[in-house]
Amino acid sequence: MKIDNSLPLEYSTEENSLKILGFWIFLGAEIMLFATLFATYFTLENRTGSGPTGAEIFQITPVLFETIILLTSSFTVGLGIHAMRIGKQKAMVTFFSITLLLGLAFLGVEIFEFVTYVHEGAGIQTSAFTSALLTTLGTHGAHVTLGFFWGLFIILQIKKRGLTPQTTNKAFIFSLYWHFLDVVWIFIFSFIYLKGMM
């Protein structure tokens, strides 16, 4: 395997740069996945049937918590990649662990939010609006959950094998995924919550 030392470790083999580009293309597909969910949500937004409207169930506090938690986690995963590039394995693992803990906190708030909705009579079966809302939020939440386990596996591998072309490559790709989830959340925050409460 040829290793090119002029590039950061995660790009250093040909296979590595293939994987990074491949993952970017996957993110392109993810854009369309969430775009379809948004298109559905916007179409069904006002079709609440006999159920509550968005303005009636959205609350700013948990949403604000979720946003700040996720923005911070996106920042820390970025710091983790920076630490990885300057070869500081310990700092990197710390930043990644903080990221995953923030991810857990986000999921905790989101679960609390879902439970509240169901208590207020806005379950997934209530109306077209709640179906679209909870499916969109749930898809994002499922991505975060998957990301949590993925990140955990990467931390374990880095602890075991150190910073190799393979592990750094995985960590970098994971960071792309995590930032992307943050971007998706920004759109959810702006166009589902804030627009709904405006």
Binding site: L7, Y11, S17, I20, L21, W24, I25, L27, G28, A29, I31, M32, F34, A35, T36, F38, A39, T40, F42, T43, I60, L64, T67, I68, L71, T72, S74, F75, V77, G78, L79, I81, H82, A83, I86, K88, A91, S175, L176, H179, F180, D182, V183, I186, F187, F189, S190, F191, L194, K195, M197, M198
Partner: protein
């Protein structure tokens, strides 16, 4: 310690918090729907661009044109899908 917190990323983070605060204005201030949507669209897309360039390092390798083409292509089609759907299903129904 300071080398673990590069200026670019810290500033990026501060800026993203700032954008969030601006977006919150639509909740706390009373404004028209059009004004609110404009603020949200501007802040959300700047925020997305920020993540893309500062945190995701989209432009750092020779694959940069492929990556940007991919993202913009996805974005254009995403917007067409969302607005086309709204046009056919809601606005002109």
């Amino acid at each position: 310690m300071s080398q673990l917190f590069p200026m670019k990323q810290v500033l990026g983070f501060v800026f993203s918090l700032l954008l969030t605060t601006v977006a919150l204005a639509v909740y706390f201030l009373d404004m028209s729907f059009a004004a609110g949507m404009t603020i949200l669209l501007v802040t959300a897309f700047i925020q997305a661009g920020l993540q893309l360039v500062v945190f995701m390092h989209a432009g750092e390798t020779k694959d940069k044109s492929a990556i940007y083409t991919n993202v913009f292509y996805g974005l254009i089609i995403a917007l067409v899908t969302v607005f086309g759907t709204l046009l056919a299903m809601v606005w002109d129904m």
